[in-house]
């Protein structure tokens, strides 16, 4: 490891330490609601980035894509973020009593919530969360663990096994990401529901996974690694990001427009909270950073494979994903968007943790799945 790398690692450790102090202070100073909202934000971010990356890996196995074999190790490594996500998520169960109206005793007085009491209650909620964690780790061990093992064994049987598991994974993934969306995010406002909400979070998760993967690919290439990965591979990543930026906007706007048109009080209240006062500004910034800017940046043919452009767009995309989850969670805290030292501390701590984890993963083992029989074919890929 070079000297700059070591310095960056120390920098990240320092950020994490400062952040940790802030996180502990926030627990005692800012009130439990704000503390848990922050914790939830970073838990959902870690979970969506990890699941989104795992989805990219599974998608390759499902459709038998060859072009992505040389870069498959990158989303595999990002997906290992699911491992620290599990303890973070188990701690996040502490937010249930504080942030989720469905778990409070008053909920039984509310006709709508009383009908959902079993579903929203702490025992079943926790059970679902634990099942989701277990399924995610299972899929991680099958896809990523198997792929790492194949580096040594060079056994093509793994490809057959992964391809057989991929369709089942897709069904499980749909279940898990929908439960994450409905339980952890939409559960904050249990009287409001939207059928498309799971797909909305999926679009964000896939984009976040793609952005993390693209950023890592471009970064590793700048270090002279990933020899053989060319503009054609990057072009596909850029194309995916471009397409799913539009997909995210399509889902997000469709959800908004139908509720805006119907104007039913129990539905439209969700957007009323997000279009009032300062939240209106946050909503506009989200639309610009999550759709307008990436769309313009990636629309031309040349820009989709250009490393510098991709690095900027992927960074913007990840930032927009943070803003997206913030936009989903924080309006339950009040009419003004909260952003101060607790949010900064949480960001320092979790960004440091996530980056250290992913950087550590990037240094371990081979950069490409050298045991995969389709690696050579993937390197031959041309548009």
């Amino acid at each position: 490891m070079s000297e700059t790398n070591a310095r960056t690692t120390n920098l990240l450790r320092g950020a994490m330490a400062i952040g940790a102090v802030g996180v502990v202070a926030a627990y005692f100073q800012t009130g439990l609601e704000r503390f848990w909202a922050n914790w939830l934000l970073w838990f959902v971010l870690f979970f969506t980035v990890g699941l989104g990356s795992l989805f990219i890996v599974a998608l390759e196995h499902l459709v038998g894509a060859k072009w992505s074999v040389p870069i498959r190790r990158i989303p595999e490594r990002v997906a290992t973020l699911l491992i620290p996500t599990v303890p973070i998520g188990l701690i996040a169960l502490g937010a249930l009593r504080v942030l989720y109206p469905g778990t409070r005793p008053e909920a039984l007085q509310n006709k709508v919530l009383a009908g959902k009491a079993f579903w929203l209650g702490i025992p079943f909620f926790s059970a679902r969360a634990i099942v989701c964690f277990a399924l995610s780790l299972l899929a991680l061990s099958i896809f990523v663990g198997g792929s790492l093992k194949q580096d040594k064994t060079r056994d093509p049987a793994f490809n057959v096994r992964a391809r057989k598991f991929a369709p089942a994974f897709m069904a499980l993934f749909a279940l898990v990401i929908t439960l994450v969306a409905f339980d952890w995010v939409s559960g904050l406002t249990p009287e409001w529901y939207s059928d498309i909400f799971g797909v909305y979070l999926f679009a964000g998760a896939f984009l976040a996974g793609l952005a993390a993967t693209t950023l890592a690919v471009v970064g590793l290439q700048a270090q002279g690694r990933l020899d053989g990965v060319r503009g054609d591979h990057r072009y596909n990543l850029g194309g995916f990001m471009f397409a799913f930026t539009v997909f995210w906007s399509y889902i997000g706007f469709a959800q908004y427009m139908l509720m805006w048109y119907a104007n039913l009080p129990d539905e439209v209240i969700y957007f009323k909270a997000r279009l009032d006062g300062s939240w209106h500004v946050v909503t506009l910034v989200l639309a610009v950073t999550h759709f307008v800017l990436p769309f313009i940046a990636l629309v031309s043919q040349g820009s989709k494979g250009e490393p510098q452009r991709l690095r900027r767009v992927a960074t913007l995309m990840l930032g927009a994903h943070v803003l997206d989850i913030y936009w989903l969670i924080f309006p339950v805290l009040g009419r003004t968007p909260l952003f101060s030292w607790p949010e900064v501390s949480f960001a320092l701590f979790f960004l440091g943790l996530g980056l250290l984890w992913v950087r550590g993963a990037m240094e371990k083992g081979e950069d490409m799945p050298v045991g995969d029989p389709f690696l050579a074919e993937g390197l031959e890929f041309r548009l």
Partner: protein, 381 residues
């Protein structure tokens, strides 16, 4: 076949030979280069020096034009030409425009991409491409790789092109002549195409007419006519009494016809005149009085009108002390309900007009019985 050369075709045995030949021939700038191969060869576009297709830019521009067109059109309809409030939304609601904008953007963009590629950039339709009838075509579709130098607007030096290709290592060289005039968009072709479209329209129209009217296998849209509904003068099984038309709900008040609010003339004395005493109200009262009342009561209300002799009854002298002592509401009652031989004027005068007449009658009474205080009031003005 004309004498002009369309292209000179050089046939190569392997893709490598073709790729090596391209830069040698390209440097001589004899004409437009084109390659014909059985499968796509990576990097051949760059080697042939094709400039990047302008299609992307065309699609972008037309997509933006589509979005702006859809926005402008909907804005004009919904906010300017025919503003209708739908679902309680303001006439200009951009949210409602987005789906149409999206669709029109896609429509414009895809049509530009498809038609632009086929018609503008690929110069189709092009019937009878010379390469299809060349000797080389059998090899090109199997295991041979052709490089052709094609006339690009100007005349092609066939001898130089033949020499260049041979020098570049072509196994076989073939000269292709320009095809005869392309049989497309000649007047004959256009007339036949238009005639065919016209005939198809006539046949479709006649079939449609027959299906609707002659042999009604496909009735026209009759949902409006056949909908379940209540007819006012027809029996109906919907209501218990078997009538289609029902009595209004008890206590219903028709528009502009409020009940008087008093059961007798004495009770009506309590009603107050709701109208202010303004010049407009007096003018309204005078007009109504002249049209409806003066004919019997006379222009001054003295009971001597032009109809008095013919009518037979004796109209009231409104200047009499008895009527000057009436309350406003009592005069209103008489106008509305009638009295003795006087009929009701409720059907002829609106409530506002009746109250205005009351004001005017008061004015007539005061004018005919003016005292000193009235003179002073007039003098003080």
């Amino acid at each position: 076949m004309s004498e002009k050369t369309f292209a000179v075709l050089g046939l190569f045995e392997s893709p490598d030979a073709l790729m090596h030949a391209i830069p040698k021939v390209r440097d001589q700038k004899l004409g437009r280069l084109e390659a014909y191969t059985p499968y796509p060869i990576h990097g051949i576009d760059e080697a042939l020096g094709f400039r990047r297709s302008p299609l992307g830019g065309m699609v972008m521009i037309m997509g933006v034009v589509g979005a702006v067109t859809a926005l402008a059109f909907q804005y004009w309809i919904s906010a300017i030409d025919y503003p209708i409030v739908t679902g309680g939304k303001p006439p200009y609601s951009w949210e409602a425009f987005v789906p149409i904008m999206f669709e029109v953007t896609v429509l414009f963009a895809t049509f530009t991409a498809g038609l632009g590629m086929l018609l503008l950039l690929n110069r189709l339709p092009f019937f009878g491409h010379p390469v299809l009838t060349s000797r080389a075509i059998q090899g090109i579709t199997r295991d041979r790789y052709a490089l052709s130098i094609e006339a690009d607007g100007m005349a092609l030096d066939a001898a130089a092109a033949r020499a260049a290709l041979a020098a570049a290592g072509a196994a076989d060289v073939e000269v292709l002549a320009e095809p005869d005039a392309v049989p497309f968009l000649t007047s004959d072709y256009v007339m036949r195409a238009l005639g065919g479209i016209f005939a198809a329209c006539v046949v479709a129209g006649l079939l449609m007419y027959a299906a609707i009217k002659v042999i009604p296998v496909m009735p026209p849209m009759v949902h409006m006519h056949e909908q379940p509904r209540l007819n006012p003068q027809a029996p109906s099984t919907f209501f218990r009494d078997g009538h289609g038309m029902q009595q209004p709900v008890a206590g219903t008040v028709s528009r502009g016809h409020l009940p008087i609010g008093a059961a007798s003339q004495e009770e009506a004395a309590l009603l107050a005149n709701p109208l202010p005493r303004t010049a407009e109200v007096f003018a309204m009262g005078r007009k109504a009085f002249t049209n409806r009342c003066a004919v019997c009561h006379g222009a001054l209300g003295t009971g001597v009108g032009s109809m008095t002799a013919a009518y037979g009854a004796k109209p009231a002298n409104l200047q009499a002390q008895r009527f000057r002592d009436y309350a406003d509401g009592q005069i209103y009652w008489v106008i509305s309900m009638g009295k003795n031989a006087m009929p009701s004027h409720a059907a002829d005068l609106t409530e506002t007009q009746r109250w205005a007449v009351v004001h005017y009658v008061r004015t007539l009474q005061r004018a005919q019985n003016a005292g000193d205080q009235d003179m002073n009031a007039a003098g003080a003005r």
